[in-house]
Symmetry: C2
Amino acid sequence: MTLINSTPRKDGFRMPGEFEPHAGCWMLWPERPDNWRLGAKPAQRAFATTAAAIAQFEPVTMGVSRGQFLNARQMLPAHVRVVEMSYDDSWIRDCGPTFVINDKGAVRGVDWDFNAWGGIYFPWDQDALVARKVLKIERLDRYKADLVLEGGSIHVDGEGTLLVTEECLLNPNRNPQLTKEKIEETLRECLNVEQIVWLDRGVCLDETSGHIDNLCCFVRPGVVALTWTDDRSDPQHEISLDAYDRLRAATDARGRKFEVHKIHQPEPMTITKEESEGIDAVEGTLPRRAGDRLAGSYINFYTANDGIVMPTFDDPHDGAAIETLQRLFPKRRIVDVPAREILLGGGNIHCITQQQP
Amino acid sequence: MTLINSTPRKDGFRMPGEFEPHAGCWMLWPERPDNWRLGAKPAQRAFATTAAAIAQFEPVTMGVSRGQFLNARQMLPAHVRVVEMSYDDSWIRDCGPTFVINDKGAVRGVDWDFNAWGGIYFPWDQDALVARKVLKIERLDRYKADLVLEGGSIHVDGEGTLLVTEECLLNPNRNPQLTKEKIEETLRECLNVEQIVWLDRGVCLDETSGHIDNLCCFVRPGVVALTWTDDRSDPQHEISLDAYDRLRAATDARGRKFEVHKIHQPEPMTITKEESEGIDAVEGTLPRRAGDRLAGSYINFYTANDGIVMPTFDDPHDGAAIETLQRLFPKRRIVDVPAREILLGGGNIHCITQQQP
């Protein structure tokens, strides 16, 4: 429960792959009316459905503000643990701790600097405290990383390989004072990785500056899934093709070539006028205009113990995505959650969850 | 972590004596300016001193509101765990859970109804949620008791005996619809006790309607300490004498007579004009007027693992109280905390702590 003046690498801790065993999953309750339409009521239902889906596979803890405590308690299944926590928004993938483990099963947390995805949502003072609050509740020791980073911008295979995008990690809205080499050094120390695979850009118009977790993820060591489109006129085609080429040319920390599985994206979706009108338009927050394209992707799923909780969009590609994930994770049960209301807030199921090994 | 539809007695759980081993201690950070003078800053220093004193003997967790989170973190020793929690005031003895244990070392909590000591401090909606929030954080199962009760109004010996006052438990401001017999039945079920010893009144002008924990407490089974005054003109004399007589006439659940140790109270203290002027005077809160007598007592101490953390008042009786407690607890180290700032808020060290077995 103390702040450790060292690094996970020095102490023999590593970030495990998401597909490794979990003690549970953390989430935060959606609330802010300048990001979630209609007082976040539709999003709260989607989050509750997601929590219930994950809770089939592992314990779920929901951080809930003072004002929403009783409502969340009411809307969530009784076996979801509700703890009080303040936040600015509900993306615990990004503001929560990155858990690391050692060979003896000890667990610690990395607390990154957080600046709300390059400062696009003001304020972020409460989000910046979430990691340490989670670690205090779980009585886990904490490393403070001197790097602005969100959990959604990293994926590891647990065997020394890290996947990131240049669009995000080298973006001047995060760590303009640091060179690529210095950023790599911090990532190696904090996650205990050897090989960093740099893709170029994230999903088209993803407001996170291209988080990896909407573009590409590990199925297991040596095997990744990549969002894809066959439509060459869609700007996403070029992005996914470039990522595919880089992945095929790369090797992981163990010297393996990657097996890359494409998952065709949903049809391009845009915000409707009705959806836009349900959101407070206030200064300091990214506008949600009618007609804006949403960064839809099936890659933004959560890997639970014995299960996959994935977003669907009432889209013709839903079925193929479900089938592919079932094939890639033959021992896990696939649960799909209608996720448009989460996507409207700027992310998806992976973004609103944080596994605790 | 679920709500249990049974009672501790039926399930083989009992409330242990405070002198039995603890896993730790819970506290809440003082804040409300209509009870604590000067924005609660002097009280916060006294609470921090108390937390540091207890943390010498056992882990301490401090519940802190969103607004005070960073300040409390700064004012408290690093090894005190800080978790976010809302509250109306900071008396976790009264609004927190009463922990119960079984022979196998399992721990659960009783969540009483809470109405702010008979409705004298408005509002109390957040205090009423504290017990369940604590139990969720600790992942402990919860019994909901259908009785308005504060933890400060009960003391047990862990062997079947309960000490209470009629002034508090039979007060129409708590459970006017219940007979004494019905109240006793609920206490037997929730605490797993056989013998309930009823004293008459609590300490003179104690705003809690006479909580037992300011008047009399168990040192160990068969042995109690009682606040006392030799001054026959002090209304406290008659109260303490009556309690003494009742205790000497009573037997405990094992048929033992009580050994009663008197601890002379501090000299009567009153609120100064300066102290009164530092407190917001708002409707719904008990006024703190200059000249009002404070319910000072040395009995309101906390029994920690291997230690006693007790209040002192820069009073001529301090030394004798310290000596008596050291004699009564020969194996525990006595730590005294200057506690006038806590007393000004209406209670003392026992009232602001809650042991977790």
